[in-house]
């Protein structure tokens, strides 16, 4: 079972957190800090598994993570999950984000936390892997988007919303955020 999914950036700022077991709010924050501390001090080419921190449940739990550009994706799982399987699942999740947001970057996650949650919900449910087929996941997300559009509320493709933010010309967005830099590099799918 997946106990928690944490996404944070290189500075430890949480971008999405999802706990499938109840933890009090302050405990959640402690877990995020501890996990960041454990993961961030590791080199990039060491292995992607490490034994879970003390907070989240001792040695039956593993942290399985991937580091993409500015973001860490960390899954905390118990021994009933296949390590490599989860590693691939993270990849599927990120590729899906990439498809839905058209070149996903950290800003997309910041401004569309809700969207990211919805996409994650199509992949993981109550701590169990729900769907692993990217096309299926994307199809579900598209159904949602269509319903949104038909309701005329929030919407348009997420990418457009991002561009809205990017073009909003809000002076408060720090200049040093270089969108090109923080693009998550996702290997493109090779054609069959």
């Amino acid at each position: 079972m997946i106990k928690a999914i944490l996404i944070f950036n290189n500075h430890g700022k949480p971008r999405l957190t999802r706990f499938y077991q109840y933890f009090a709010e302050d405990m959640q924050q402690q877990i995020i800090r501890e996990t960041f501390h454990l993961v961030s001090k590791r080199d990039d080419n060491v292995c992607n598994f490490l034994e879970g921190g003390s907070l989240i449940g001792g040695s039956d739990y593993k942290l399985i993570y991937r580091h993409y550009a500015t973001l860490y994706f960390v899954f905390c799982v118990d021994s009933s999950e296949s390590e490599l399987g989860i590693l691939d699942l993270i990849q599927v999740f990120v590729e899906t984000l990439d498809k839905c947001f058209e070149n996903v970057c950290e800003l997309d996650l910041i401004f569309h936390v809700d969207k990211v949650h919805y996409i994650l919900q199509e992949v993981v449910m109550g701590g169990m892997v729900l769907e692993t087929n990217m096309n299926e996941i994307v199809a579900q997300v598209e159904v949602q988007s269509r319903m949104e559009k038909s309701e005329g509320g929030l919407s348009a493709a997420p990418a457009r919303a991002v561009s809205a933010v990017k073009n909003m010309n809000l002076p408060e967005i720090p200049r040093n955020i270089n969108i090109g830099d923080i693009n998550i590099k996702v290997p493109s799918l090779s054609p069959f």
């Binding site: 079972m1 949480p14 971008r15 999405l16 957190t17 709010e25 302050d26 924050q29 995020i32 590791r42 080199d43 080419n45 292995c47 490490l50 034994e51 001792g58 039956d60 009933s80 296949s82 390590e83 490599l84 399987g85 590693l87 691939d88 699942l89 910041i110 401004f111 936390v113 809700d114 949650h117 919805y118 919900q121 449910m125 109550g126 701590g127 169990m128 892997v129 729900l130 769907e131 692993t132 087929n133 096309n135 949602q144 319903m147 309701e151 509320g153 929030l154 919407s155 348009a156 457009r160 561009s163 809205a164 073009n167 909003m168 809000l170 408060e172 967005i173 720090p174 290997p187 090779s190």
Partner: protein, 940 residues
Amino acid sequence: MPAVSKGDGMRGLAVFISDIRNCKSKEAEIKRINKELANIRSKFKGDKALDGYSKKKYVCKLLFIFLLGHDIDFGHMEAVNLLSSNKYTEKQIGYLFISVLVNSNSDLIRLINNAIKNDLSSRNPTFMNLALHCIANVGSREMAEAFAADIPRILVAGDTMDSVKQSAALCLLRLNRTSPDLVPMGEWTSRVVHLLNDQHLGVVTAATSLITTLAQKNPEEFKTSVSLAVARLSRIVTSASTDLQDYTYYFVPAPWLSVKLLRLLQCYPPPEDAAIRGRLSECLETILNKAQEPPKSKKVQHSNAKNAVLFEAISLIIHHDSEPTLLVRACNQLGQFLQHRETNLRYLALESMCTLASSEFSHEAVKTHIETVINALKTERDVSVRQRAVDLLYAMCDRSNVQQIVAEMLNYLETADYSIREEIVLKVAILAEKYAVDYTWYVDTILNLIRIAGDYVSEEVWYRVIQIVINRDDVQGYAAKTVFEALQAPACHENLVKVGGYILGEFGNLIAGDPRSSPLVQFNLLHSKFHLCSVPSRALLLSTYIKFINLFPEVKGTIQEVLRSDSQLRNADVELQQRAVEYLRLSCIASTDILATVLEEMPPFPERESSILAKLKRKKGPGMVPDIEEGRKDKNVNGGMEPISTNATTKSTPSPSTDLLSLGSSPALSSAPPSSSAGGLLVDVFTENHAPAAPGVPMGPVADDNFSRFVCKNNGVLFENQLVQIGLKSEFRQNLGRMYIFFGNKTSTQFLNFSSSVICQDSLKTQLSIHIKPADPTVDGGAQLQQILNIECVSDFVEAPVLSIQFRYGGTLQNIAVKLPITLNKFFQPTEMTSQDFFQRWKQLSSPQQEVQKIFKAKHSMDTEVTKAKIIGFGVALLDRVDPNPSNFVGAGVIHTKTTQVGCLLRLEPNTQAQMYRLTLRTSRDTVSQRLCELLSDQF
């Protein structure tokens, strides 16, 4: 890029997020957030009804604030309102907020359940999915109660959409985890199992997860899933990579489903049916063969997916542990991975090999990789991988390679990560003991361990070495010589001083013949370390000194002088001072014979589970430490060492005591035998009039501190002191009762001559009849003893019986007497009656001696619910709407005794202003009224 109109997207949200990101300091951020929270709060509280869009926007903002680590204590109600919206996006955000922020015991659950119920029956698959997600994510008991019956129906219904089936399967799985008792499978079992044949692979994957969990709990019921799983797996494994279309991931057909199916099969032994078994073996071989084929893609995803399946197949092979050829092939495959350039694969290979090492078929094959593993220990850059290498070395160790492995581990220890040092120390200590070829090597190894990583050598480790040296006389001389030499080092670890002090105190005489280690030299050497040590070590050294006085009369003068010095006799530490005083006195007045008896060599320790192993198990969690000896089922030929090491692992005492030498209870150590009451023996020396309390002496004071707590409840702790805890559980029906008494030994020492009895004084003998089943005469350290009392109430009674226990603890007899909370009200049967009945009977019981009334001050806060609970706990039925004044409490019941039954009515009138109560009881017997009134009035 198309321009975006202002109404598109939630601009307010984007602006807020940008503001936050722009904050220069944490303080500014908090300020901005508080401003926003105030804004949202006022919007939610405001008179103007918010439209769905605004609610959605604010809930979104709250989610963002929560993500930043701020508590959100409002907005839940608005989120719940969104659930019943007809607009999908509003519903969606409502559900999101609830699954992120609502915990399972929120009081909103009922409202949420209503919304879920509507969505589940909506037949709109998207809505149904949202609802199922919410159930799975929150997973509370109330939700399980509300929906456990519906979800299996949705799961197996013919017209359910695939995506809903998937969600339903996982939802059911979640509920089964949180409230297994509420999810009855029975009738659904076979239909759920048949989901393994479903067309849609997503459904099959979800169903496999569900079935795996259910099968772990109830293998028999889901046995039929084995053949279906094998068939499905076989179809996947042999399919061309394009057959499964979307479920082919980087040329690997349905890797997740394969992994899940292989996991499911690990819930069962190898299939008995030869055909199925053959088909499964074929699958496993195919998977192993594919590993040897050149990769179809250079992408890491391809290799990950392929190897995920491969590792799971290997796990299954190891689990079945029945086909030697497959096991050896698996081992070779893992051997290849040990040298793979992907760190992840090396890590997993080490991990899998650990389990493989415990199979007798492949243990030898695993051992051939020892050099590679040792190399990994030396060269891996990643501590996670090195740790796995340590685990594997530990698992593959046996008598043939123990010296090499222990040497390598010690080597590694010098540079190891601090985080894993303690674990390595424990492992080295265990291996050295278990596979010791000779015990001189063992002693060397442990001393080395202390030298290299003294700080990480826990007490268990050095207790153990002492235990072994004491139990084996062939190693004592060597041990004394070695510790003596080790102590010569100018700086040695305190643990070494402890081991050295203890061993020289016991066996220093064995090396005293050599003038280089004469008694005086030994003493001076130890005493030179004395001032650098902590108090417990100093205490231990003082005990060594008194032992020296016995061993070497020639140094008596020197030692007495040391003991007599102000720094000992007037030491600020009570323990040290006491030892100095007592030892000095002992050495002065006791004759040589008494000294020799008191300070005799320690007797051999009883065998028990190695405390080190117990510690490692605790550290890693049960089941994480492969019990090498048992797991491998191999027979070590070398039997000479067995009595000490291997027996110890199979035997288990009720509580694997860490306190090997019984030293733990006081930090100061005494090597005087039996050390549990060092004072006790010395008292014998100093005083003549010390007579142990004889059995049968009149009882001391009777404890009744907790007595009144049991008037309204039946379970709890009755008595507790430093040695023993007495707990109770009791049940009563009519005039009969049964009471379970639990005696817990809180110490690590056995209680001897344990006996207990129940004493009924005077008239109580005829009123209550109590039968007690005799208990064991010993209670092990840390263990619990249970005793059962059968009670019969013959007639009404006032006094309470007394429980009296006696036992011998460390040489002194302990007497404890406690009032047993068997009270008259325990024999109540509640009686329900109408208002009319109640008042009719109330009037019938109107003679003055039948009524007892008491007015008293409230001792506790006057909480209505607590009061109700107490009255019900007292045994009567609490009658609603009988008393015209709703704040009064009215109850009725019948006391059952063997001879008669006594009806009883009561009324309690609280006066909150005055903090007073008036309690009125009417029964047909004045003694009963009186007693019940006493008992109950004491409770408020």
